[in-house]
Symmetry: C2
Subunit: 363 residues, 2 copies
C-alpha cells in the first residue's frame, strides 16, 4: 500500500503542542487499521519565524507543502508579532489562495459532557457543518491587496467577488458532503446561506445553487438569509445539517457555531482544493499557555480525523476512512464515558493526559 | 411647547398591528408627561402597495417622510410579492440611503420572564447595543446597484466602502451613546468590531476609531474581530455594552443578539442621520399572522421609546426622554411582574392584550 507524506507546519504557540498531540492520535489510528505510517516533512512558518527572519514561511516551503499528500497545521500568529500596519502574520491565507482551497469544512458537533451554551436540551443533538468558501468572497480583497494600503484618506474599498467556477465546485462539494452524511444517518440537507435579497453577488450565488440542486435529488436543498441564519443558530441549531456560504459569512458563522459547543477548543477545520488539502484547528496560538501542557488538543485531533478522511478520497482507499472513524469514535466515546476532561472546559486534563486517554480509547 | 409630526408608514402584514399598538403606548406616555400629542401623517408604502400600483411608496412619500420630525415604520415586505429577480420590496433601504441614516441602533436586552437561550444565569444581565453603520459598508452596493444585474455570467462583484466622514460620525455617535449609558449606570464601554487583520477597509475603520477614542476618556474603548465577537456573544454577552461595526457585520450580529434574548420579537431599531430619524421593529411582516391579534408588539413599542428619546435630542426638551423612560419602565416592570406574556413567547396575550397591559402599567 502507498506511503503518504504530510507537510507539517506546527507554527506558533500552542500550535506545536496540539499538532504533536493530534499526530500521535492519528498515527495510532493509522497503525490500528494496518496502513503504512504517515511520514511528516516539517515546514517552518509562523510569527516567531517571521520575527527571526523577516519571512513568514521558510524558503520554498509554500511550494513544497503543496507537493505532498496533505498539509497539517497547528496554529499561526502571535499578538506581539505583526506587520508594520498591525495586520497579522498569516501565510495560511496565501496557501488558501495559491492552492485554491475553496472548500472550508468546519464541523460543529455537540459532545456529551463537553460544554454547551444553550439552555434547550436539544442542543445535545447539534451536528452540523459550516461549509465556508475560502478563496474568494470578501477575502478576494485580502488575497489580492495583501497588506493595508490606503490609497486615499477619504475612503477605502474592498471587493466581494463571486465566480461561477469556484461557486459551482463549492456547491457540488456541499451536496456530496450532505449525501455522505446522509449515508451516515444525518438528514442530508444543504442550506444555501446568502443575502440574495440585497446583493447582486449573493443573488448570483443563490442562482447557481438553484441550478445545481436538481442534480442531487437525495439532498434537501434550502435557503436562508445570513442574518436569519445567525438567529436560527441560536434558536434551533439542531435543525441544520450542512450550510454553505460565502467566505466572510462562513468566518463569522463558524465561530458562532464553535461557541455553541464549547468554544474554539473543539473547532476542527479542513480547507480543500482540487489538488491540495490543509487541516488545522480553527483556534489561535494562545501563546499565554504554550508549552505548559494546558492546551486542549481536541480541535487538532478532530482536524486529523478530517485529514484521514481526505486521504481516503485522495487515494481511493477506504481504510483511511476507517482510521478517521476510529479517531472520531475515540473522541465520542471518551466524552460519553467522561474520560475526556480538558482543562479548557474546567477539567483536570492537560494536553498530554487528553492525548494519553485517546490513545487508550483507541486501544 | 412645540407640536411634532411623525411620518407613519405602517407597511405590510403585522406592521399594521404592531405600529398601532406601539403608537397607542407612545401617545399615552407623551400625555402622561404633559407634552402635546404627536400628530401622525400616514404614508402608504410596502409590498401590498407595490402589488397594486407598481410603486413601493406613494408618490412624494419619500420626500415627505424626511420633512417631518421622525419616521415610524411597522414592517415592509411580503414573501409572495417580489421584484422580478426575486429580491424584496425594500423602500426603507432607499430611505437609509437618501437621508444618510448612518447610525443603526439595535438594543439587545434581557427582560425577566422573557425567553433566554443561554444556559448561563448571567444571561439575565445582557444589556447591550449593536451600533450598525447603515448607509455604506457592503450595503454601498445595495444602494447604488439596486436590483441584481449580472454584467457577466462568470463573476459578480460587490463593493464594501468605508468613508472617513461617515465613519467619524458613527464613532462619535457610539462614544456619545456609551457616555449616555454610563450616566445611566452601564459600564460605558465601546467595542470596535472589525476584521482589521485582513481587510484594508477594516484597518481604515479601526484606524479612525483609534484616532477618535482619546476624545472620550470616560469611555473604555476596545477592539474585537468580528468572528471572535460572534463567539463572545455566545460565551459572555453580559460583558459587552456598545459595539460599533460595519453595516453587514451589524446586520448579522444584531440578529444574533436578538436571538439571545427571545428572537426578533424584542428587537427594536433606530436609524438616525444628521436630520432624519427612522424607527421600526427589526422583525419582518409575518403575514401568516397578520390581523389575527397574535403579533408581539414589544419590538415596536421599544422602537417607539427610541423615537421619544430621539425627539428629546432633536428638540432639546428633556421631557421627551421622560416619556421614553416611562415606556421602557412599563416594559421592564411588566416583565418583572409577569404581566407581559406575549403569544410569541408561548404566553396567552395577543397584540391588544399586551397593549392594554402596557397602558395600565403606564397608569
Ligand atoms: C486569522 C484569520 C485570517 C482567519 C480567517 O479569517 O480566515 C481565521 O479567522 C480563520 O477563521 O481561519
Ligand atoms: C430586509 C433587509 C434589507 C434588512 C437589512 O439587511 O438591512 C433587514 O435584514 C434589517 O436588518 O433591517
Amino acid at each position: 500500500s502507498e506511503k503518504l507524506s504530510i507537510a507539517l507546519i506546527r507554527g506558533d504557540g500552542i500550535g506545536v503542542d496540539v499538532a504533536n498531540a493530534a499526530l500521535a492520535v492519528v498515527d495510532a489510528a493509522v497503525a490500528k487499521v494496518g496502513l503504512p505510517a504517515l511520514s511528516y516533512e516539517e515546514i517552518t512558518a509562523g510569527a516567531a519565524y517571521y520575527k527571526e527572519t523577516g519571512r513568514d514561511i521558510e524558503p520554498g516551503g509554500e511550494k513544497r507543502a503543496g507537493e505532498l499528500d496533505a498539509i497539517f497545521l497547528g496554529a499561526i500568529g502571535l499578538p506581539s508579532v505583526r506587520h508594520d500596519d498591525g495586520t497579522e502574520i498569516a501565510p495560511h491565507l496565501r496557501l488558501r489562495d495559491r492552492y485554491g482551497l475553496y472548500a472550508g469544512v468546519r464541523p460543529v458537533k455537540a459532545y456529551p459532557n463537553a460544554p454547551q451554551r444553550l439552555a434547550d436540551p436539544r442542543a445535545a443533538e447539534i451536528d452540523m457543518v459550516i461549509l465556508r468558501e475560502s478563496t474568494e468572497g470578501l477575502f478576494f480583497s485580502a488575497a489580492t491587496h495583501g497588506r493595508p494600503n490606503f490609497a486615499s484618506d477619504h475612503e477605502v474599498r474592498d471587493t466581494l467577488r463571486i465566480t461561477r467556477p469556484t461557486t459551482e465546485k463549492l456547491f457540488h462539494f456541499g451536496f456530496r458532503l450532505a449525501e455522505k452524511r446522509k449515508a451516515r444517518g444525518r438528514p442530508g440537507k444543504l442550506t444555501c446561506v446568502d443575502k440574495a435579497n440585497v446583493f447582486n453577488s449573493m443573488a448570483f450565488f443563490r442562482k447557481i445553487f438553484d441550478e445545481i440542486s436538481p442534480q442531487y435529488p437525495e439532498v434537501e436543498a434550502t435557503h436562508n438569509y445570513v442574518d436569519a441564519q445567525a438567529l436560527d443558530l441560536i434558536r434551533k441549531p439542531w435543525e441544520f445539517d450542512v450550510m454553505v456560504m460565502e467566505n466572510m459569512f462562513g468566518d463569522i458563522l463558524s465561530d458562532l457555531g464553535g461557541g455553541l459547543v464549547g468554544g474554539m477548543g473543539m473547532a476542527a477545520c479542513a480547507e480543500i482544493g482540487d489538488e491540495v488539502g490543509l487541516f488545522q484547528p480553527a483556534h489561535g496560538s494562545a501563546p499565554d499557555i504554550m508549552g505548559q501542557d494546558k492546551a486542549n488538543p481536541l480541535a487538532a485531533v478532530l482536524s486529523g480525523s478530517l485529514m484521514l478522511d481526505y486521504l481516503a478520497e485522495r487515494t481511493g482507499n477506504h481504510r483511511w476512512t476507517e482510521a478517521a472513524e476510529l479517531v472520531e469514535t475515540a473522541v465520542q466515546s471518551g466524552f460519553e464515558a467522561n474520560r475526556l476532561r480538558p482543562m479548557e472546559f474546567g477539567g483536570d486534563m492537560g494536553t498530554l493526559a487528553v492525548t494519553k486517554e485517546l490513545l487508550e480509547l483507541l486501544g
